[in-house]
Amino acid sequence: MNKIKSLDDLRKMKQSLEHGMNIREKSNSPESLVQIRVAMATCGIAAGARTIMNTLIEKIEKEKIPAVVTQGGCMGYCYAEPTLEVRVPGKDPVVFGNVDTQVAIDILDKYVLNGELLDGIIPTNYLTINEQK
């Protein structure tokens, strides 16, 4: 282990370390972040959801996008896997179907960062069990 010789050293060290703690910091305030849920049931994984999830996480980390990626179970849109549910604070959740790596990147660039809608939105006509009163 190297000694930390100055406050600058400490700050640099913090910067290189905070990366690993990002997920934890973000989960402290999930309401204020864009929440992206990747459907990761068997059908989703088979259709490539894991790659999509990795792409999202890498891009979010690299560009410091205020979003957090979580896994969800099957949403029932097996015909449209891989699917993502994107929840921008203050807006209704939007579900995107048939997502591939490029679409995932577009979703972040266009929808999450600029609020533009993209093709491939699955109209929501259901309530999740969490929303049912």
Partner: protein, 597 residues
């Protein structure tokens, strides 16, 4: 640090370890390996989450899923369902005691919603045995800022402005304490961290040391810089082995990084920390007794002045602060004194950690802003009284505090309000009592503790408390008189006025406060010889209702002292003089024919 998609935080505090959280950590790691998810999920052993009632806790981030009472054999399911497929394991989720619904994540749990965690900011969030995680959360940035940008008096002013008061019990302003120590000139000064937590039911200091030891090291170094000390000592009881181990690891890591030792962060400031072990005596929480114990003498208090700030450890100026006080210090420098001062009430700033215990649904460790009401703490965070019983009283401040009742429920909690209500903040133990608790017995319990723990140096505490305890025993045995009550009150006041140290000066508080708030209960003990709560055995009267008795002889056979007589198929009779009130007959009777008064 590697980038994981999921962090599985497992509580590795003393409480959860007692229910196999060590094994859970091993199993989770193995299962992750087995399913090939090593690069996706990370298992982190953290400090206490505070929700000890339902331990062991496994919290999964980023979705904040909060699994309770996890067993080692549940690990495979957690990994294959939650981590691999994103499906929560419902049976392990926390169930709201009122609605009986599963609550998915900690953000929606009543237990956490009203909390504000400053001293506990890293507990249950970082791995306490990994200094990198502490640094990633701005650890050691406060000492860095102070060493490079602030003079000693500026730093002390910051603490004074924050309004921080000692969390160990007395509530003395921390900034003022530091200032006095800094003004006393000497070739060597000492910073002492008081980790001799002794109140029954209080475990906040232990949890902080187990969950976030680096914050204490950093704060002690800050204090060292402010008062001009290069040596720090942690006085910790030997019965906290895990806290000691984690603290030792943390000190070692800080030394390796050069954050303890000579020339810290390239400045000419030097500071190092040594541990001193105590044998677990309550009186050693008193600072003069603590210092004597560290010096190798008997743990007995001495008269103040001289205060430790003047003549403390080895006769040198010494500043003693409690663990929780130190834990808030780095946060004050990082976020600013005005931020800290904006939380709380006029004279009590910031937050306080409380250990909730007793007849309450959510037993555990909480941190709340000063000024919150007892009602919010007990009914919202604590989830109300167990088994739907009625709230009777809450004891704050441990053996030095007093009982507060229903009418205090809406009083904002802070140092001064609690004192005014006849109790005290103390170290933050909060023991909740319901209708089945006899207040005379409660007072007796605390006196038993003080009698045990009194060092015996001064007569009022040594003899006075013993007498108090005897009278309480007499009342509980049904032999008390009304004169005894007057005597109890008078003797209590004498002990308070004449004892040498804080132990004796506060030990009669449980008696005085119960005498005041539950006078009727004392009266019924001595006048009617009745214990309303049914706790005082000697005051119970067992009789047989002859209409209900079938003469089965079950009670006759159960009675250990042959106090019950009667023929088969004839109603039996209990000889009241022989009866020892053990209740064996009551438990045995199938026809509810035994009446208890």
């Amino acid at each position: 640090m590697a980038q994981y998609k999921m962090h599985l935080l497992v509580c590795a505090g003393t409480g959860c370890r007692a229910s196999q959280s060590d094994e859970i950590i091993v199993n989770l790691k193995e299962e992750i390996k087995k399913q090939g998810l090593e690069s996706d999920a990370q298992v982190v052993a953290t400090g206490c989450f505070g929700f000890c009632e339902k331990g062991p806790i496994v919290k999964i981030l980023p979705d904040n899923t909060f699994y309770t009472q996890v067993k080692p054999e549940d690990c495979a399911e957690i990994i294959s369902e939650h981590v691999l497929k994103g499906r929560r394991v419902n049976r392990l989720l926390y169930e709201d005691p009122e609605t009986l619904k599963h609550i998915e994540d900690s953000k929606h749990m009543g237990f956490y919603q009203k909390q504000l965690r400053i001293s506990l900011r890293n507990c249950g969030f970082i791995d306490p045995e990994n200094i990198d995680e502490y640094i990633a959360r701005d650890g050691y940035a406060a000492i860095g800022k102070i060493l490079t940008e602030m003079t000693q008096s500026e730093a002390i002013d910051e603490i004074k402005k924050s309004g921080l008061r000692g969390r160990g019990g007395g509530g003395f302003p921390t900034g003022l304490k530091w200032e006095i120590a800094s003004k006393n000139k000497a070739d060597q000064k000492y910073v002492v961290c008081n980790a001799d937590e002794g109140d029954p039911g209080a475990f906040m200091d232990r949890s902080i040391l187990e969950g976030d030891p680096h914050s204490i090291i950093e704060a002690m170094a800050i204090c060292g810089y402010c008062i001009g000390a290069s040596k720090g000592l942690v006085y910790i009881r030997a019965e906290y082995p895990l806290a000691i181990k984690r603290l030792q690891i943390a000190i070692e890591q800080a030394r390796e990084y050069g954050l303890l030792g000579e020339a810290i962060l390239g400045t000419d400031f030097a500071f190092d920390i040594e541990l001193k072990f105590g044998a677990g005596a309550f009186v050693c929480g008193e600072e003069t007794a603590l210092i004597h114990s560290m010096e190798g003498h008997r743990g007995e208090p001495t008269v103040k002045p001289p205060f430790p700030a003047e003549k403390g450890y080895l006769g040198k100026p010494t500043n003693v602060n409690n663990v929780e006080t130190f834990a808030s210090v780095p946060a004050i420098f990082l976020k600013g004194a005005s931020w800290f001062a904006s939380i709380g009430t006029e004279k009590s700033k910031g937050t306080k950690v409380f250990a909730l215990a007793g007849k309450i649904n959510n037993v555990g460790l909480i941190e709340v802003p000063m000024g919150i009401t007892l009602r919010e703490v007990i009914f919202e965070i604590g989830g109300g009284i167990k088994n739907g019983k009625k709230f009777k009283a809450v004891q704050t401040g441990g053996p030095s505090g007093g009982c507060l009742t229903e009418k205090h429920l809406d009083t904002p909690i802070d140092f001064d309000n609690l004192l005014a209500a006849g109790s005290m903040m103390g170290s933050g133990g909060m023991i909740v009592m319901d209708e089945d608790d006899c207040m005379v017995s409660v007072a007796k319990f605390y006196l038993e503790f003080t009698v045990e723990e009194s060092c015996g140096k001064c007569a009022p505490c040594r003899i006075g408390n013993k007498r108090l305890h005897e009278i309480l025993e007499k009342i509980c045995a049904g032999k008390g008189t009304e004169d005894d009550l007057t005597y109890l009150g008078n003797l209590s006041l004498v002990i308070k006025d004449t004892s040498l140290c804080g132990l004796g000066q506060t030990s009669p508080n449980p008696v005085l406060s119960t005498l005041e708030h539950f006078h009727d209960e004392y009266l019924s003990h001595v006048r009617e010889r009745v214990c309303v709560a049914g706790m005082c055995k000697a005051l119970k009267l067992y009789t047989i209702i002859s209409d209900k008795c079938t003469g089965c002889t079950a009670c006759i056979r159960a009675c250990p002292v042959n106090a019950i007589t009667g023929e088969k198929r004839q109603p039996h009779v209990i000889d009241v003089d022989k009866c020892i009130r053990c209740g064996a007959c009551y438990d045995k009777c199938k026809f509810t024919a035994i009446h208890v008064q």
